[in-house]
Amino acid sequence: MLKRLGFIAALCGVMLLGRDVITSASASSLEAESSAFITELADKAVSSLTAKDANRGERISRFRSLFNESFAVRSIGKFVLGRYWKKASDDERKEYLGLFEDLMVVSYVDRFAQYAGESLMVKKTRGENKSTATVFSEIERPGGAKAIRINWRVGTNGKIYKILDVVVEGTSMSNTLRSDFSSIIRRNGGKVAGLIDELRIKTAALKTE
């Protein structure tokens, strides 16, 4: 009897221990992988966007592939459209997602290239739940100017990692865009088509810059 109790206790001990090992291992590997993913992205951005030989058109096309490779573009686009995603037709969704990608690429290519030339330092990483983590980083500015605080919200399905949101000095890109776009839709009588028209004009103007 005593022997059996001892065995059960040992089994419980192993299970308890095992549980801790599994949870802490998965949390810390999520954090480590997320942090490595951001550092790698920064290195990639430096090598592909700061090349002197590339003109703006070339940089745009390089940034577009980097953006699609590293950002959860569809999830972000869907989040940004908010409650209007449900109201949009399939054609509207498709056109919207294309224009959304265009807007992001042409409005951020220059700044991304500029920041890529400065050093990004990962300060810490915090696992938020089993599939997302926040990577806290700073971009050191030249000449002693104040560093820029950038938090990256990273999500994973266990294999691939994608950026879900970029928070610059406390301002989330996704949430700002969501307020911006939904305001445009409200001012166009609640129609997604109104937003698509304005996106078309905006991206066309930015491309010719």
């Binding site: 999830s75 409005s107 000095e169 301002t171 307020s179």
Partner: protein, 275 residues
């Protein structure tokens, strides 16, 4: 005869704007049959939107005509060395207000940091121009009475666009006035009839802050479709971030949360840990 102080002028302008815009100044609420629209209306929380947009346009005209050109020239002409020292000097002047708000928020460690920084930077930093404290890894932070009210549980209230001062809300507007009134430097200035001091300082602050935000605001204006809505969102997020002292809350909505599958292995680990 004392000249009116900045907040008093500001409140006067605000009341004139409110009277001029009259009853037409309210945003129309959506029909109560559409719960999604009602939820959105409450979340946007900008009942004075038409007036706010008008004030925003006036602010933008003033910014384009005066503040932005001055900030741009300042950034281009003054060497980084000089601008950093001006920035440090102005930040050091804010120390007493930051210290008071640290204490009011019960953040005694941060209060001690602020005090120590003020002492170091004013003495060996030569009047605050050199941030010697940061060099000694005593990093600074900002606080204001709007944040203190938030820590005390006061809600921000509806969005307000103030003339000249820009985006705000009732809570932060009260904070602005309280910080101004209880600022030791202003008290000294007003007791010695040197009212130009707070004015000069406000001007210097405006140019300093604007020159530091040239890129961010240009980017936002460039990428946004509705600049006003983007600024409204940016202001609220920055304030929430300041109140939480940059903790980066996981409760802020973000894309993909709950959409990305955890994967079978992670799912299993989660399941195990619950047993």
């Amino acid at each position: 005869m004392r000249e009116p102080t900045v907040p008093v002028i500001c409140l006067r302008v605000l009341s004139v704007v409110a009277v001029l815009s009259g009853a037409s100044g309210c945003a129309s609420a959506p029909s109560p049959d559409d719960p999604d629209a009602v939820a959105e209306f409450l979340q946007v929380n900008d009942p004075m939107e038409p007036v706010n947009r008008d004030v925003f346009e006036v602010n933008r005209v003033l910014d384009k005509a005066v503040l932005k050109p001055v900030a741009t020239v300042y950034k281009a002409a003054a060497p980084e060395f000089v601008r950093t020292r001006v920035s440090n000097f102005l930040a050091n002047l804010r120390s007493p207000v930051i210290f008071a708000n640290d204490v009011l928020q019960g953040e005694f460690k941060r209060a001690a940091t602020t005090f120590l920084r003020f002492f170091i930077n004013t003495t060996i930093g030569v009047g605050g121009m050199n941030d010697m404290a940061s060099a000694l890894e005593i990093e600074g932070h900002d606080e204001d009475f709007g944040q203190t009210l938030a820590v005390w549980g006061v809600e921000e209230g509806p969005f307000v666009m103030l003339p000249l001062f820009g985006p705000s809300n009732p809570r932060d507007t009260v904070g602005l006035v309280v910080d101004f009134v209880f600022d030791p430097l202003r008290m000294w200035a007003s007791n010695t009839d040197s009212n130009y001091v707070p004015l000069a300082r406000a001007g210097a602050d405006a140019v300093d802050i604007r020159s530091e935000n040239l890129e961010v605001l240009d980017d936002l204006e460039k990428s946004s479709l509705d600049f006003y809505a983007a600024i409204r969102s940016l202001y609220r997020q920055r304030r929430a971030d300041a109140v939480s002292n940059g903790a980066g809350s996981a409760t802020v909505p973000a894309p993909g949360i709950g959409e990305l599958p955890g994967g079978p292995t992670l799912e299993a680990a989660e399941e195990l840990s619950r047993r």
